[in-house]
Symmetry: C2
Subunit: 253 residues, 2 copies
């Protein structure tokens, strides 16, 4: 809820990393310091340390800092870890093969859905590897599926946290969304129609919690373009989607 990070050297350094993550083209010392809210000399020192460990790359010519190669290694390790949900990859591949559509797995992280695994479909709609992307929970089918399965307290907290419009189809009314989540919980899957991105619709189902208790951490979705796939056609894949979700639950148990 409140500021998650302290202000020690470590948290400051990590903050610099996220600042650089928001500026892939690279940033100078003072620009980094400005956006991170730090004195220039401190930023300079911290960036030096980070660069020594190659978590940031320093371009001597342009005198700019950007993320370094070490972050790649970390993410690879993460994706292989249980938290990386690599166990979900095989069921998702089968789902994508059966339906021809791209399959995406995501988790709820704060008020965002974080995409953790993507499998390309066979159609020529190739979504760029989106792992690590954030989206507002209320604008995505993954987010709705996950929110619907949440304990009431947390679900209400999400609803109270603000529902900004992403497209002009995004639901922004807490009341209407609450009702939709009830329907989602009842039937076991969620749906989104150009609420997050114009031209894209998707369906999603939460992966049942293998532990039996607690709410699902993970959800799977199928995406499609509105021009190629009607809402009705997309719904025909709901059984396959639910199968996949249960397969994943079985594998992770």
């Amino acid at each position: 809820m409140s500021a998650p990070s302290g202000d020690d050297m470590l948290s400051r350094g990590l903050r610099l990393l996220t600042v650089l993550a928001d500026h892939p083209a690279g940033l100078g010392v003072s620009a980094v310091a400005r956006t991170a809210g730090l004195p220039v000399s401190s930023a300079h020192r911290l960036l030096g340390r980070l660069a020594a460990d190659r978590f940031v790359a320093y371009d001597e010519d342009t005198r700019r800092y950007a993320l370094g190669v070490r972050v790649l290694e970390l993410s690879r390790a993460f994706q292989r870890s249980p938290a990386g949900y690599s166990a979900a990859a095989d069921p998702m591949r089968r789902l994508a093969a059966r339906t021809g559509l791209p399959a995406i797995a995501g988790i709820l992280d704060g008020a965002d859905v974080l995409l953790v695994l993507t499998v390309q479909g066979t159609q020529h709609l190739q979504l760029r590897s989106a792992e690590g992307t954030r989206n507002p929970w209320h604008a995505t089918s993954l987010g709705k599926a996950l929110a619907a399965a949440l304990p009431e307290r947390e679900r209400e907290r999400l609803l109270a946290g603000g529902l900004p419009a992403v497209t002009d189809r995004t639901r922004t009314e807490p009341g209407a969304l609450r009702e939709e989540l009830a329907r989602v919980a009842a039937r076991g899957w969620a749906e989104v129609d150009e609420e997050n991105e114009v031209g894209v619709r998707s369906i999603a189902a939460a992966v049942p919690d293998p532990d039996g208790h607690g709410s699902p951490r993970l959800a799977v979705s199928l995406g499609a373009t509105v021009v190629l796939t009607s809402a009705e056609e997309l719904r025909t894949h709901v059984p396959a989607l639910l199968d996949c979700a249960e397969e994943i639950a079985a594998v992770m148990g």
Copy 2:
């Protein structure tokens, strides 16, 4: 050469991250402290900060720490940055489509080749997304292609740095390897035959430096299994490989 990192709070925290990266299953406080060479209380404090920023995930039930979701976001940002070589993706996709083989791009990082971009081939040989993987430079075609294009000083430093055997086909003689690199430099492409992984052969070409001066940072390779593709057949793809390397150079210039 020497220890690259200092021993302040920041470097220690980053070291903990790499420790956790080596243990995807998760580790307890004392195990982390042991492998990182830190007092338990210090590791405990640092892990707490890292967890507060969600760079590590803490499982309250098992009391184990593992990498957290924030690293995913960082890597995504990295892959989109110029250093992530996303510009190479399109030429590589074309190369993979033309040849049917998986294409891989890598850079030299110390004595290792770090894979930064992979594109699946159309054959059923699907290499697992390998971005972030390290391999000894002298056992890979990418490494040979990059080393051959290096200034002599640096190339000799690599040769002097030790050439451990990976498979029983790995070249471990500095003299022989030096000669091979000379041939690679002359003809513009490198080749590897089960020197890094049994059953896999590959060819690689360095991407000419767009700046004109300086040595290439990036190389592209095509991989194949020995059972499906003979060395001769693989060599027929050399022109396509060189084309791709030049396309990438053009795009990045």
